[in-house]
């Protein structure tokens, strides 16, 4: 795996390194500086560009965020290693921008080598440390100084005054104790080498893109009794799947699809335990091979489970912001930016909801419809099919809308006997002002469509079992080059396809007959 990925790297570009033969000749000392914890945050959350609509999936947050942190830094004259600790774990280091340091940045670094047991051992190869061995009887701890000779392939080999031994192969309790963390950091850290002309204290801004965020709009439409209008409300649901929280952050979400380039190869260290692999441990009472294999694979799958559990999983700790906290929309280039007006805390592994809009008495039309495909498709001849029901309106001010509607998820409720009952759930795409809004209400068993016919003549029978008149649309998807030559009703065209629009009185049936001609 590693060589394959790096093969890609190398073919994209090449690097020549000339290593110093003698250690640093003329380098000035570098001061270690730590940036203060952030004093202010800003988080702008973008949707998953490959999720067309629907709500946020807390287990797989495919969106991202632009995080901006304001931090106070104190620099000495000369070169400083300035560390920004506690950045989001989803940081994309190549997107980091540091401003406010008078442009004296020599280089930026992100070290992915995290603090883990195996990383500690790897960093200690060739170094002196202490092996602690506990006598099982007396409990007395014997501390043996020594050197790690190897940690190859997960086995640790150790040299002490007594000779050479393998760690934890004897069966008695043994462990290594380390001094210091060898520069390994537990928290994701970005470091910057800054050349300061003089000692100074300044406010630096660090901004970067981080994955493991997402947001969507969640609409609730409540239909009126007569079904001719609806009350539309919506929440912005945003989620942070990172292990890092952003207290009192200025929070924005951006609607519209932004381009993202993927396929980046970036070193990542997930850490690992000290495995302490030993020599073959077969005994005279060995298990049969098959059973051994079964035990091994069980062990493997167990380990896989533990690793998943350790990976960041979005917990569904939902928080609903009640009481007047709303978002305000503004234009950002060709995108829509929604700003939460007061700072809010975007905690780690949290989803949060803020009110997006509330519109009452939006006029809607309920329409039933079906789309029939190719003439000789046997599926269409297979008896009756339920028609779909849609709610339609146009996103205009006259219809009490006239605002950009970001994509998301719609729940449609109707009020019966004083109760709000869920009718259907569907998805909504990004809708600009003046666009037609169509909310799918699912199939309706009360309106059935039956098709019969042979060759080029077709019969479609529509039955209405409802106690009210309905609007019905029969859409046809004809094969390439085909057209309607005769029909018993008026044919219109919508989006280049033939459509029959009819009104069915209560408890009636209607018949549509049409003839097609054309190739082949």
């Amino acid at each position: 795996m590693a060589s394959r990925l790096s093969g890609w790297n190398l073919s994209a570009a090449a690097i020549a390194l000339l290593l110093a033969c003698t250690p640093s000749q003329s380098q000035s000392p570098v001061t270690d500086a730590r940036a203060a914890p952030p004093s202010a945050y800003s988080a702008t959350i973008y949707r998953d560009p490959y999720r067309s609509s629907g709500s946020v999936d807390l287990d797989r947050l495919g969106g991202f965020a632009l995080i901006t942190e304001t931090r106070v830094v104190h620099l000495q004259k000369g070169d400083n290693w300035l560390r920004f600790e506690g950045v989001a774990d989803g940081i994309e280091p190549e997107s980091a921008i540091v401003t406010g340091l008078n442009d004296a940045i020599v280089e930026k670094n992100r070290d992915a080598a995290g603090l883990s047991p195996s990383a500690l051992v790897a960093a200690a190869v060739g170094k002196t440390l202490v092996l602690a061995r506990t006598n099982p009887k007396s409990g007395r701890v014997e501390r043996v100084p020594g050197t790690i000779l190897s940690d190859a392939e997960g086995g640790v080999i150790f040299r002490s005054d007594e000779g050479i031994e393998a760690l934890r192969c004897s069966g008695s309790p043994e462990t290594l104790t380390f001094e210091g963390t060898q520069g390994l950091r537990a928290h994701p850290t970005l470091s910057v080498r800054v050349r300061a002309q003089r000692e100074l204290t300044s406010t630096a801004t660090l901004s970067y893109l981080s994955h493991d965020f997402d947001w969507a709009a969640d609409y609730t439409a409540t239909l009126s009794q007569d079904g001719r209008s609806m009350d539309l409300g919506a929440w912005v649901t945003l989620a942070n799947g990172n292990g890092t929280g952003f207290p009192e952050a200025r929070t924005q979400v951006v609607a519209g699809r932004v381009n993202r380039e993927s396929g980046e190869v970036e070193p990542l260290d997930i850490g690992g335990p000290i495995v302490a692999k030993c020599w073959p441990r077969g005994s005279t009472s060995d298990l049969p091979m098959q059973l051994q294999f079964a035990l091994k694979s069980r062990e493997l799958s167990l380990r896989a489970v533990t690793q998943t559990a350790a990976a960041p999983v979005a917990a569904s700790l939902a928080e609903v912001m009640a009481g007047g906290r709303r978002v305000q929309q503004e234009q950002l280039g060709d995108l829509k930016l929604y700003r939460i007006q007061e700072p809010t805390t975007v905690a780690s592994r949290q989803s949060k909801q803020v009110r997006l809009l509330d519109r009452s008495a939006v006029p809607v039309a309920a329409v039933y419809g079906i789309e029939l495909g190719d003439d000789e498709n046997p599926r269409n001849a297979a008896g009756a099919l339920p028609a779909s029901r849609y709610l339609r309106t146009v996103n205009t001010e006259a219809n009490r809308l006239g605002i950009p509607l970001p994509s998301g998820h719609v729940q449609v409720f109707a009020i019966r006997q004083g109760q709000r009952l869920l009718e259907h759930e569907s998805n909504l795409r990004d809708l600009a002002i003046n666009e037609e809004v169509e909310i799918d209400l699912g199939p309706s068993p009360d309106v059935q469509v039956e098709t019969t016919g042979t060759g080029h003549s077709h019969r479609v029978e529509i039955s209405n079992a409802r106690a009210s008149p309905i609007q019905f649309e029969l859409k046809l998807r004809l094969r390439d080059g085909a057209r309607i030559v005769d029909a018993n009703r008026k044919v219109d065209t919508k989006n280049g396809r033939p459509i029959f629009r009819l009104t069915l009185p209560p408890n009636t049936t209607a018949l549509v007959r049409y003839e097609t001609a054309g190739s082949p």
Binding site: I15, L17, A20, V106, A113, I164, S172, V265, N495
Partner: protein, 415 residues
Amino acid sequence: MKGGRQRIDFEGVSAQIRPETVTLAAADIAIVEQNFDFDLLTPAKLMEKAVGREVTIVRVNPATGAETREQAEVLATNGGVVLKIGQRIEVLRDDGLPVRVIFDKVPDNLRARPTLSVTIDSAHPGMRPASLSYLTPGLGWKADYVALYDEAAGKIDVQGWITLTNSSGTAYENAQTLLVAGSPTQVSSPGPTTWRQPSRRPALEQAGTESGSRERLGDFYLYPLPERTTIANLQTKQVGFLDVHGVAAEHGYEFRNHWLGTTDQPQSAKSIYRFSTSAHAGLGDQLPAGILRFYMRDKRGEPQFIGESRIDHTPMGSTLSLVTGDAFDVKVQAVVEKRTRVNEHDWKTDMRYELSNASPRPLTVTLLQDGLWGDSRIDTESQKSTRRSADTAEWNVSIPANGRTVLTAGFDTRF
């Protein structure tokens, strides 16, 4: 070095070194042979190499805690370790009780990391500088660009960063670093060679013809890092190489419809930013391949991300046109209105394109219809098109503020 024939070990070379590419150069030496030992020092290997040799075993009595030491000969390590202690044969830790095994030495060519060793013949003893060079995978670099677009002025500020990544397993301390932009062909590189996603839309609109002052290596450009630096393992390092302010940039929209593309819902047009990399009116540099991230200031003046786009190695003087994403307010609905077969060889297709603009300013969309290969003609059209290529017709359609424009075209094709 001593005089004469001797072996020199080089530790700390890249863990992914390609040993066949090693060159050692120093005064007054001759290379006898080069070896790359990749037999790693692990407990199992250590035991395997001890077959037929004596080891010390230490038993701890679980009841008393007392230690007893014995010498044992390792007879075999197949599946389990078989020991000969005095005249007895035992399987190591067969009873599950703790037994420590102490080895007195590490076999010669077992190492913690793969190690390169070179046998040389030195003409005379003494210290002299030597240089070792080799190729290694696991190191890579690309460019990352930050572009801040000023909508009112129609200008961008661009910063370029070189992003270096090291996953070779080794840290390079205090290294003088030189980056080569271009793709040197490697014949024998293991694994798949170049793999890139085919780009759907070319970013390079016009290839440049200007030369810069950067150093070249053959047809590649060199980007030396200004000073020595340490490249740690698993590190991502960025060093700036470009900082340009106030370059003119155009913002536009583009929509490409595929042949017979017809939709029930309007689709967003793409947001396009176009700028030059020439010396007099552009960025004034060659751009190594990488990702350009666009930012724009929001109403409060904070920069916000508005999308990113990949560019290839771009010569100076080129025109780049990059997609940042979909425009929320600018949509196009393409519909096949009518399609008739005139005779066996002729089809007539009537297309209707409805372009809508929900923003309060007028704008122009570049509408492209592709798939016009072969003997294809546009018979009728409501606005004059230009043929961008044999395959693609192009219309520049203006849409009024908060308005719509409908374009129709009739195509005469053989398919």
